[in-house]
């Protein structure tokens, strides 16, 4: 489930409510859908499934896939809730705690009593800045775990292969945030310089165009020094989301190598054919046969 909270998510979103949901019912949406609230299509069958109540700055979230992605734009008080239906053992009590980044959060251990055959673990987290993002896990000791990955919206398309350009030509690097994700506040471009990232600004050789969800960096008159790794960063209130791409600048010599070898091959073939034919026809003349001559119509 992907869900993100917004400062304005407040008044209109109601909880859908609880209950056993079969997989057919997962298309239901809250009456007023906050712009950034959307549900993924896959839905767990067995467990309870809440869609939260959103009040200003506090949003509730719960679910039961093994890993849940939560996208956040702004600082928020986020309530995370895990529900486990237990197993045959039906233990009377169980200890639950939370982990962040694999490390147990201090003072998060609580005993969990079953209520209507369910064990519930809930905690409110204050997510203010980048260091509060990360991987949160709710743990029912020795029984079950659920991960919540709190992050900014990630830039979808990642170009694995390097972008190639020729010395002296221009190249345009593009980054686009998908349509179903929120619009970044702004975009920045960086280039790797040794171990550092150096920000690029509008300059003689760089043209930066920002258009809401997409950003373009046009590098003019590229040279081999422009090769390297570039990052585009979508800036949100809480953090930035980056995507990197590799620019490779080649000289005309690169394609020229196979081209010249093909050229040589053609010349060799043609000469060989002509030479063969000359020697062959000389032989034929010596033998005195006539050349084939078809006259048509």
């Amino acid at each position: 489930m992907i869900y993100s909270a917004d400062r304005n998510c407040g008044s209109n979103t109601d909880a859908i409510g609880s209950g056993q949901l079969s997989s057919n019912e997962h298309q239901e949406r809250p009456p007023h859908r906050s712009k950034y609230l959307h549900l993924s299509k896959d839905l767990m069958r067995k467990f309870l499934y809440f869609i939260h109540k959103c009040q200003c700055h506090v949003c509730f979230y719960s679910g039961d896939n093994k890993i849940e992605n939560v996208e956040l734009l702004n600082p928020v008080n986020l309530s995370l809730e895990c529900i486990w239906t237990g197993n045959q053992n039906k233990q009377p009590n169980i200890t639950g705690y939370w982990r962040k980044g694999g490390v147990e959060i201090q003072d998060s251990r609580v005993p969990v009593d079953p209520e209507n055959q369910q064990y519930t673990l809930k905690r409110v987290f204050n997510i203010v800045s980048e260091e509060h993002l990360g991987n949160y896990t709710c743990v029912f000791e020795n029984e079950a775990e659920l991960d919540f990955i709190l992050a900014v919206p990630q830039i979808g398309e990642r170009r694995e292969k390097p972008i190639v350009s020729y010395v002296g030509d221009f190249v345009v690097l593009t980054c686009k945030m998908e349509d179903n994700k929120p619009v970044p506040r702004t975009w920045n471009w960086f280039k790797n310089n040794g171990t550092d990232k150096e920000q690029l600004f509008e300059a003689q050789r760089y043209d930066i165009t920002v258009n809401g969800r997409s950003a373009k960096l046009k590098v003019k008159d590229v040279s081999e020094a422009d090769s390297g790794v570039y990052h585009c960063a979508a800036v949100y209130n809480i953090s930035t989301s980056t995507s990197k791409m590799h620019l490779k600048v080649i000289t005309i010599w690169e394609p020229l190598k196979p081209f010249l070898s093909i050229l040589v091959e053609v010349v060799i073939l043609v000469t060989a054919i002509l030479i063969y034919e000359r020697s062959h026809s000389k032989k034929k003349e010596a033998e005195g046969t006539n050349a084939c001559f078809f006259s048509l119509f």
Partner: protein, 470 residues
Amino acid sequence: MANGKLKSQSQGDGAEGPDGGWGWVLVVAMFVSTSLVFGLMRGLGIFFVEFVQYFEESAQAISWISSIGLAAQQFFSLLGAALCNAYNTRLVVMTGGFLSGLGLILASQATCLVHLYLSMGVLSGLGWGLVFTPMVATVMASFTRRRALAVGLGFSSIGLSSFAFNPLFQLLVETYTWRGALLILGGLSLNIMACGALIRPDLRFALIEELSRNGEFFSSYLEVSLLCERPYLTYALGVTLLNFGYFVPYFHLVAHSRQVGFSEYRAAFIMSAAGITDIFGRIASGWFSDLGRFRVVHLLTLWTALAGVFIMLLPVSSLTRSYTVMIVISLLYGFCSGALTSMVFAVVPMIMGVERMMGGLGLLQLIESCAGLLGTPLSGWLRDMTGNYTASFVVAGSFVLLGSLTMTTLPHYFSCAEPPPPQRPVLVDNSETLNLELRQDGCSPEFNHQTERTVETKSNQTDQRGTEPD
């Protein structure tokens, strides 16, 4: 052709006679050169996407590049045929290979669209036109009994190379960008010169000499009188309509697949799938029509209608976003496309009679080249207007369907037997050598042996009826 008489030479006097030996070498040459002309043209869809991105121009503006190339190839086919008679076939094919390679090499340095129109369009198109028809004619002239097989083998290269070139071009574009890829393709095209070198300089087509002696060059050569005949006009109209839509998938399917969301290589393979079944469609349709159960015109309208339907289904199938569905439709489309090109040419002697075929085909090719020129840019313009390729493909498919419907208005369409051809073929002493003519394909760039068989059958029949000898 109307005045000429066909003389035959006794063949098979040695290893160098037709139906063997050097003829098979020429088949290889035709295989290679045809793949470098049509296989290459069908792979230009990959470059289409790159051009749109680089030049930031509309789909319509970019479409002109390939359509100019295609139209130039069709248009200059006639010139190629004429030059073969005036000069050496070998020289013409080698020049054609050089020009097509040069056009692509120059295109790699283009800085604006006009450069591409002129280099990749006009220059390469001229080269392709000079290569294709002479090459086909040479192979045909080198075989008699095995001609169908030889030419069929030569043409199988189109489907095979279309299959192989699409992913190859994608690889080249990714490694060297379109500039480097075009440079390398230009080099590859120069191999046509090696193919041309294989043509023996002593092979000549003496047709034009005879005609010009009689002083009826243009009117006979182009068979302008055909324009007054209804069957010919109907057929020309049908083929022209077909040409409007036929090439659109080759140039726009890759772009459409990419837009739907498939990755570069998956999109390239959708195009390849059409290439693979093209071969089978050709062979199967030739075999099926040989069975004689159905008239060739009926088969033609069937395959053309099916091809039109599948072209229209291409954007519909992409709505499902399923790769399998797109591949299946592409396979079916490729099959029908190959099948229809087989039939399109087989119908020709029935429309215009064998002795007027060359001129008639030349004229037909002139007429249809404008459809080839306009069809793809129209599709590109529709894409620019609507934002996706659905309208483009639907319109292209409907043009193909319209062409099919037009064919049904041919005279005697609904009769079960073949009507007699407009003019009785000139009689010859040897029915086999009736087929030694300089042929051009007019209806589509592909050529098929089907016509020869039909012509052979016809001349056999007339022979048996005992008309006057040559």
